[in-house]
Amino acid sequence: MDLQLNWRAMWGRAYPRIIGVQREPSWILFDIFLPLLGIAAFIFFYRAMGAPEIYTGFVVLGGAMTAFWINVLWSMAAQFYWEKETGNLQLYLIAPMSRMSVLAGMAIGGMFLTGVRALSTFILGFLLFDVELEVTNPAALLAVFVVTLIALYGMGMLFSSLYLLYGRGAWHLSNILQEPIYLVSGFYFPVKAMGFWVALGASIIPITLGLDAMRQLMFDGEQIMPFLTWQVELVILMVLAVGFVLAARYALHYMEYLGKREGRLTLRWQ
């Protein structure tokens, strides 16, 4: 593999997303203030119910991590659909770089905006709703966060292979995954509350275990209800990260082959 070529290709593809942040300032409204409204609804609901105060922290954390989940679904996995529509995809495919470097470029380019959204949701939520944090092991928290993101974006790369072949047909996948995952992955409450088997099934989505481990490392109290210990969850997340990245590499190669065989890599008029 030509590392220099793929490095340049990755930054080349990251560039439109990085520069887009400067050129379309409307993202400040859509990515900072609107998400706050979503988490505020959950917090007021919990408070009206008299739920333990720690749940406010769960909601803020879940709201922050939502940014990454949406980014993976729509700006990563589904991006190949848009690229096919505009005619970019065929130009990516005839170029010599690895498809993984294009996807990595999308991820890195999108990371800034997503990171700002997540961080701003977290900080503003923390300040506005008086969230109490007890971070005892920041290194472990950072490790869980980073490994969760690698696994999550690896999964996004895997999904993107479906868009490579099926285009709009795969659109429903992102729709199906977006809302239900908020429930089964426990974005706003401990996933264990859904029962062991649901939590186990939802653990294939890296954000499930990532959130559960981060809750253990950021808050204190018996209401945390850990599904597994954070150490076990970190190990599983590492396995998922490696597994998804390797699976994505294989799937992209295979789907490209199928697309070339069936003539589905480009639109008919292109």
Binding site: D2, G12, G20, Q90, I94, P96, M97, Q270
Partner: protein, 321 residues
């Protein structure tokens, strides 16, 4: 001389599942394009031109047959082919509207691993050459169709490929923009060793003026392949007439007259223009008689030199339009 493109008995079909008859897009195509050639593919919509380009550009697999591009198999050796090719299509909307022309071109150059400074320098030179340097810092969504197509052409050439596929590169452009692009293509391929262009076009004149050799393709088959001059000589022994008449209902009848080898009719409701290829000039009197007998008027009659359109009409049995 080595071949830049070599296909043997290339077949590409689409569909055919559940007992349906497959659509044959390419039907046993044998094609040899030498390195350094500016080679044209001429054919109507649906002839198989774009399918052929997609196979050569490693976007589509052949159903059967073998294809080599720059000496490498398109199925098994794509990594040896991709760094050395590029592709530009007419009416392309690639790139990102919020990026400037310069930024878009730079981004695509990075997919070929070009060093950033070298890419920027080449992009600046080519923007000057194509007369759109003043648009270099304009966002792509704000520039005109012609400027955008010039940008697309620059994108294809900026990576300095050994073989470039140009699929209707001047589609929908005004005369000046088309001339500018044609002139660049000609200079690029003839000014350097080992550069090859495969061009598809609807425009007969473009094919005639630009291409060293041409293949005429229809319904997935190559009907003829030679230099434009030799192709035109194929029909030179026949006579070509263009007749403009008032609306005439008997065009079909005329074309079935003995001695009429082919025709292409265009009408706008107020008049009809029919181009005939005749085996014998004497047949023209029969045609005029038939038209006047049908109460239509002959507005003009011209005998013309054979063109590629005549070659096309003779081979395909109809015009390109």
């Amino acid at each position: 001389m080595p071949f830049a493109i070599e296909s043997n008995q290339l077949v590409r079909t689409f569909g055919g599942a559940k007992g349906k008859k497959p659509l044959v897009a390419l039907d046993h195509v044998d094609l040899r394009v030498e390195e350094g050639e500016l080679f044209g593919l001429l054919g109507p919509n649906g002839a198989g031109k774009t399918t052929l380009i997609k196979i050569l550009a490693t976007l589509l697999l052949p159903t059967s047959g073998t294809v080599k591009v720059l000496g490498h198999d398109v199925e098994k050796e794509v990594q040896a082919i991709r760094p050395r090719i590029n592709m530009v299509s007419g009416g392309e909307t690639s790139g990102y509207g919020l990026l400037t022309v310069r930024e878009n071109l730079w981004m695509f150059s990075q997919f070929y691993g070009m060093p950033s400074e070298e890419a920027k320098r080449t992009i600046n030179e080519m923007l000057e050459l194509f007369g759109i340097a003043d648009k270099a810092d304009s966002k792509v969504r704000t520039i005109s169709t012609g400027q955008r197509q010039k940008m697309n052409v620059i994108r294809g050439f900026v990576t300095d490929p050994d073989l470039i596929f140009l699929d209707e590169p001047t589609l929908g452009l005004d005369v000046n923009a088309s001339m500018n692009i044609r002139s660049f293509i000609r200079k690029w391929v003839k000014g350097q060793e080992g550069k090859t262009v495969l061009l598809t076009t609807h425009y007969m004149q473009e094919a005639d003026h630009l291409c060293d050799r041409l293949a005429i393709i229809d319904q997935g088959k190559i009907l003829a392949c030679d230099t434009p001059l030799r192709l035109k000589r194929m029909v030179a022994k026949d006579s070509t007439f263009t007749i403009t008449t008032s609306p005439c209902a008997s065009i079909g009848e005329i074309c079935s007259l003995p001695g009429v080898k082919g025709f292409n009719a265009k009408g706008d409701g107020s008049k009809e223009e029919v181009r005939f290829i005749l085996e014998d000039e004497a047949v023209i009197s029969d045609i005029i008689s038939l038209i006047t007998n049908k109460n239509a008027k002959v507005i003009s009659l011209n005998k013309t030199e054979a063109t590629l359109e005549d070659v096309f009409i003779q081979l395909v049995g109809r015009g390109l339009d």
